[in-house]
């Protein structure tokens, strides 16, 4: 049995004919060809599969396809500008050493973008809390925190 899903993915209308319990992660990767969203654990612990569903962070490995019907989804592929210009947070990750092996990076950047969009004060504690659901084994988080803070400063109109 399959269901027909209609979603807005990265601003584009997309449809897929899939089993209703197929993981959203697999729908994105296999049916829509969006492999930027990664799988690290399959149980919502690592956050590598983080996407935005209707503006909220979600681990796409824990979401059944049928639940995503009619939603607006943003994946890592939707963070950069249409002309492929990196979003400030992406550029700051590259410049500040926020990505090492890179497997956690897509989920981490989606979470970081959500934090930046919230307009919260980019204190060390706030930034760390915002990415507490995303595991990174390479960086020790320091440079990720610094990259997000640098992006926040740019957004704030500062240097």
């Amino acid at each position: 049995m399959t269901v027909r899903l209609s979603m807005t993915v990265n601003g584009q209308p997309r449809t897929a004919e899939v089993p209703p319990l197929k993981r959203l992660l697999d729908v994105l990767r296999e049916d829509l060809g969006l492999t930027g969203t990664k799988e690290g654990c399959g149980e919502g612990e690592c956050g590598a599969c983080t996407v935005l569903i209707d503006g909220e962070l979600a681990c796409s490995c824990l979401v059944a396809a049928a639940q995503a019907d009619g939603t607006r989804i943003v994946t890592i592929e939707g963070i950069a500008g249409r002309d492929e210009t990196l979003a400030p947070v992406q550029r700051c990750f590259v410049e500040q050493g926020g990505a090492q092996c890179g497997i956690c990076t897509p989920g981490m950047i989606v979470a970081a973008q959500r934090f930046l969009d919230s307009g919260a004060e980019p204190s060390d504690a706030n930034v760390r809390a915002a990415i507490a659901g995303n595991l990174c084994r390479c960086t020790g988080y320091q440079k990720i925190v610094e990259a997000i803070q640098a992006a926040a400063r740019e957004r704030g109109g500062g240097a």
């Binding site: 990767r29 969006l34 492999t35 930027g36 969203t37 990664k38 799988e39 690290g40 654990c41 399959g42 149980e43 612990e45 690592c46 590598a48 994946t75 890592i76 592929e77 963070i79 950069a80 990196l86 992406q90 550029r91 990750f93 590259v94 410049e95 500040q96 050493g97 926020g98 990505a99 090492q100 092996c101 890179g102 497997i103 956690c104 990076t105 897509p106 950047i109 060390d124 930034v127 760390r128 809390a129 990415i131 507490a132 659901g133 995303n134 595991l135 990174c136 084994r137 390479c138 960086t139 020790g140 988080y141 320091q142 440079k143 990720i144 925190v145």
Partner: protein, 739 residues
């Protein structure tokens, strides 16, 4: 032609700067393709049937006759045409168990199917018939010794030193398994070839390990195997040797099915079955003077190797060579053995035996300070190795020794003395419910392979000319640490080119020279230096050509920022000369072989001599608080000073140090493998906890640059230096003791 030594490398515009990492853009946009992101035409999926018991006679593997096996490929040991042996140090580990099961999770059979749901269902219809045997799970009860070592450093004077000591301090220290927990699990795809060979794509550190393993397994020639590394989502040693196993399994299924076979481990399978850090039991007996001067030590280390030899002899070797820590010992006797147990084999993990033995010696130093009522920092300072001192193998330290400098730097930056005094007062106050502590530890880490390793390996790497610059040729892998970027920086400076003019060739065993495995903190120092040397040679050739074409004197020509100049006169852009060479003379490729510095020799029988060409040094201060009611530990601040020789890319260097430090904090505070009857109970990220961003504080890094004269630009290996957990426990001790 005279070859300048590396000492003559001069920094250009790239080395010492922090250009954007080459793979950065792909990684932040989600475009970087890891193995599971690739689809191979006609691919099927592979799974492994494993033993559930730790030790048994294997009577047979049965496939349920009531199950529909159509479309499912089945492989057992009987299908193997070549050697059923995972090529590494000893020929003891089979790809698939044949007669005996030696550990739980040992592979017994393989299945492949295009439909993943049917594949999962099929797993429940394979029956492994066994006759259980008693397992050995305690390394101290094992009678099978894989390898043992003894370091004898003026040991004839040991008894006398212990007799005249003011104090003899004894301690036993235990460390357990640690899981690498790279976020991308092991993943490969084997694609069968018409010539009977195999092309293997995968997440790995050492493509030639896999290459050699597949040749033997499939019984084919060197040319019939190609191994290509895909973007790799972390390794930390965990993808040093185990990918050979996964690759072999996928290749067996691919050969039998005739289709590409993708094997991506589930997280629980990766944690349950693949290698971990070796647990160790370490006994110290130390003779010490009242003022804290170390006189002599006896150290006994037992490591648990697990069921097969894998890399255990080399891990134990590195462990024993670091067991005396970064200290001066007039007399030492250090023994180490690594033994077999019926548990999954332990293997490479960042630090490679050293975090274990440094942990023990640092704990022992702390105990000595406590018993003598001295400041532990002063005991470390008093005994820290200095230039001209000898290590326990009799290696005289001739260069790049920074133990004292690192200690002093973190003591100052962390405010150690003031905080120690203030915390002691606060902790003693009546009703203090949070006890605070600060501790400093010291470590060293030998850079590059142990002993004669590099001299035997003869790593080769090079560069080739492209129309606009050069391409770096090596098999060294970027697993996140930034290899591609530092190679490009070093090649760029040697050629007088900007970093974007340098490309890195795909990591493919059929086309790249063997620059050796990506392990042992050797890649930048050994392979990077070899690439720089090759780039210098390529540069000389092109400078001569530019001189010839433009009527200049060859010796006057150099390339600066992409332009050939002679005595201040611009001759031509690099690309113009490069394209002309390629059109008129064809490809230009320079491959150099690594030359180990002369006089750095080690005797692998007596364990005497220079075990490593140089050492990285680090000191770390950890400040934390402990809740007196709940015993909860909160990390407040971490300062670490690391001597890296030369920070070729400071941001990447700091990234290694911060990341390694947090892994060590995890090992000390959070991470624990829980066993029952030889199997791991906590095989998931939900129950094997690694640090999140809120579990660790700001890690402040002080880069110390004390150059290694034979390293490129003075650089030495640092990747593993920060991986030791000892630092944290010192601070907890301090807080608990109310000091």
């Amino acid at each position: 032609m005279l070859r300048p030594s590396l000492d003559s490398l001069t920094e250009g515009r790239a080395v010492g700067q922090s250009p954007a990492r080459l793979d950065g853009r792909d990684k932040v946009t989600g475009r970087a393709l890891y193995l599971d992101d690739l689809t191979f035409p006609g691919q099927v999926f592979g799974r492994t049937v494993r033993s559930t018991v730790p030790h048994a006679r294997l009577l047979g593997v049965r496939f349920d006759p009531a199950f529909d096996w159509s479309g499912i490929t089945r492989v057992t040991a009987a299908d193997i045409q070549g050697d059923n042996v995972v090529q590494l140090i000893a020929d003891d580990q089979p790809f698939l168990a044949r007669d005996v099961i030696r550990h739980a999770e040992e592979p017994v059979a393989l299945l492949a199917c295009a439909d993943r749901e049917r594949l999962e269902a099929a797993l429940a219809h394979v029956f492994v018939d066994v006759e259980p045997l008693p397992p050995v799970l305690d390394p101290l009860r094992s009678e099978v010794v894989f390898k043992q070592y003894l370091i004898d450093h003026a040991a004839s004077g040991l008894a006398e030193a212990f007799a005249r000591a003011d104090r003899v301090v004894e301690g036993t220290y235990l460390v357990r398994h640690q899981e690498q927990m790279y976020i991308e699990p092991n993943a490969v795809c084997a694609v069968p070839r018409e010539d009977g060979g195999m092309t293997l794509h995968g997440s790995m550190q050492c493509p030639f390990y896999v290459h050699r393993a597949l040749q033997r397994l499939l019984r084919v020639g060197e040319q019939q195997i190609s191994v290509l590394q895909t973007v790799t989502g972390g390794g930390f040693g965990g993808k040093e040797e185990y990918p050979s196993m996964v690759a072999g399994h996928a290749a067996l299924l691919a050969r039998k099915s005739g289709r590409p076979v993708k094997m991506v481990y589930r997280r629980d399978e990766d944690v349950a079955a693949t290698t971990k850090r070796h647990p160790a039991v370490m006994r110290h007996r130390t003779a010490v003077q009242r003022d804290g001067t170390l006189l002599a030590c006896e150290i006994d280390v037992v490591m648990d190797g697990g069921a097969y030899v894998t890399l255990s002899p080399v891990v134990a070797s590195r462990g024993v060579l670091h067991a005396a820590g970064a200290y001066r010992w007039p007399h030492a006797r250090i023994a180490c053995r690594v033994v077999q147990t019926n548990t999954p084999p332990n293997g490479a993990f960042r630090g490679f035996g050293v975090p274990q033995t440094i942990f023990a010696v640092e704990a022992q130093i702390e105990k000595i300070a406590r018993e003598l009522q001295l400041d532990p920092l002063e005991v470390r300072r008093r005994n820290a190795l200095e230039l001209g001192d000898e290590t326990p193998t009799g290696q005289k330290l001739l260069w790049s020794v920074s133990a004292r400098e690192c200690l002093d730097a973190v003591a100052e930056r962390s405010g150690y003395a003031e905080k120690r005094a203030a915390f002691a007062r606060e902790n003693a106050a009546p009703g203090a419910r949070r006890k605070r502590g600060i501790g400093i530890s010291l470590a060293l880490h030998g850079a590059g392979f142990t002993g004669a390793g590099e001299a035997k390996l003869k790593a080769r790497a090079g560069v080739e000319l492209t129309p606009d610059g050069a391409r770096v040729l090596s098999i060294s892998t970027d697993i996140g640490q930034g290899t591609l970027t530092v190679f490009a920086q070093m090649a760029a400076d040697a050629l007088g080119l900007p970093v974007p003019a340098i490309e890195i060739a795909e990591s493919d065993t059929s086309r790249m020279p063997d620059s050796g495995p990506t392990v042992a903190s050797r890649t930048l120092m050994v392979v990077g230096g070899t690439i720089a040397k090759a780039a210098q040679a390529l540069s000389r050739t092109l400078c001569s050509f530019a001189a010839e074409v433009h009527g200049a004197v060859a010796g006057d020509v150099l390339c600066e920022n992409g332009v050939f100049i002679a005595r201040g006169r611009s001759l031509a852009p690099f690309g113009e000369i490069a394209r002309r060479w390629l059109a008129e003379r064809g490809p230009l490729r320079v491959v150099e072989q690594y030359v180990h510095p002369q006089g750095i020799e080690f005797d692998e029988v007596s364990y005497r001599g220079a075990a490593y060409p140089c050492y990285g040094w680090s000191a770390t201060a950890v400040e934390l608080s402990v809740d007196a009611d709940t015993a909860e530990v909160r990390l407040d601040h971490v300062v670490t000073a690391c001597d890296v020789g030369k920070a070729v890319h400071p941001i990447l260097a700091e990234g290694q140090i911060e990341g390694g430090t947090v892994q060590a904090l995890g090992y000390a505070l959070l991470e624990e493998v829980i066993w029952k009857d030889g199997r791991i109970l906590n095989t998931r990220m939900q129950n094997y906890l690694i640090p999140t961003a809120v579990d660790v504080p700001h890690v402040e890094t002080i880069l110390v640059e004390n150059p290694y004269p034979h390293g490129p630009y003075g650089a030495k290996g640092i990747g593993e230096l920060p991986a030791t957990p000892e630092r944290i426990l010192r601070a907890i001790d301090a807080a608990k003791a109310g000091r």
